[in-house]
Symmetry: C2
Subunit: 204 residues, 2 copies
Amino acid sequence: MSSTNNINTEEKILSAAAEIFQEKGYDGARMQEIADKANINKGLLHYYFKTKDILFDAIFSIALKRMVSNIHSILAMELPLEEKMDMIIDGYMNLLLRNATLPRFVINELSKDADRFIAKHLNSSANSIFIDFDASVKKEVNAGRIKQIDSRHLFMNLISLIVFPFVGKPMLQVIISIDNKEFHALMQERREAVKSFMKMALRP
Amino acid sequence: MSSTNNINTEEKILSAAAEIFQEKGYDGARMQEIADKANINKGLLHYYFKTKDILFDAIFSIALKRMVSNIHSILAMELPLEEKMDMIIDGYMNLLLRNATLPRFVINELSKDADRFIAKHLNSSANSIFIDFDASVKKEVNAGRIKQIDSRHLFMNLISLIVFPFVGKPMLQVIISIDNKEFHALMQERREAVKSFMKMALRP
DNA sequence: GTCTATATCATGATAGAC
DNA sequence: GTCTATCATGATATAGAC
């Protein structure tokens, strides 16, 4: 019997649902397609997750945490600014090279009703960790070790350089006209490219 | 009678559809909601645009062109690299400050089936304009006027810094924890922030 | 051109046998 | 737990009166 089967089936569902939801979004995803991908039928799918919303929330919650927990834990560390930034670059690039559609999914669903999702899925305690980053930047600026810059723009620049190429891939490919293979090679190099670009921009 | 009414109604539909599709995407948009926003009924909506797909294509085509035509025309110009980049920053930031949801919409729908959309909506002649940018960068690098850098990464960096904050707004707000008002103020400053960041990074 | 009413179909969800 | 119906809803699309 089936305490083992339970787990296998539920995991099969979650894994299938993650793929479908990430690829097509909540609105585009079909319970039938998720059931097919998990090799079960709709009835059983609804047995494990009563509604599409409940299943979606399970997937989205994991995705959102994956997307922000890295950065929160790094920002909370006691480290020099440069090391913090390098760690963020390494951490995110590793994550995104493995799961390129994650940020687009999170951003999209978040943008439908950000407040609701944040309240629902995030321990609001995670608040205001950014003030540490801000303090780091001001310290480095005052010590003359980096150029004067607004820490919020600096932070946005950092995240933009890392995340956007993955999110905006289809648009970038239209403009630059490179194929998937070239694109992938470019992303492999990008970890170091972003690190050096940030350092170049900040040198006094 | 109604040659005037035609135009007004069609424009009302296009304007309503643009709002709804951009906000909710193809899958999330409802013909009923578009009809409501245009102050007509579903029957009339289908009289002007036989299917949802046809209406969507009309909207998406405009959005895609708006998103890439700027940049294509600028890249095609005979101008020093720095001026080119400043023009791209100004052009895009103006566009996005006026229509912040445009890039997310384009990227999303594009990512569903990039090839189909590109073939359908873009004169494929627009190809390979990027080689001009590449040549500009190499010239500046060889002349020692900017730091050594891969032109494709440089281009990605430029677009990322401009576009991502608008696309990733909900996620950035989760991490930085700023409200809409602060965010808007930040975007107002950002035009100059990006210009100076790019120049700082490239100085030899 | 514009409206109301309706056909058609797809989807999320449930009921009930095994 | 798993499956096979089946229901109920809501969405696109059409028909036909005005």
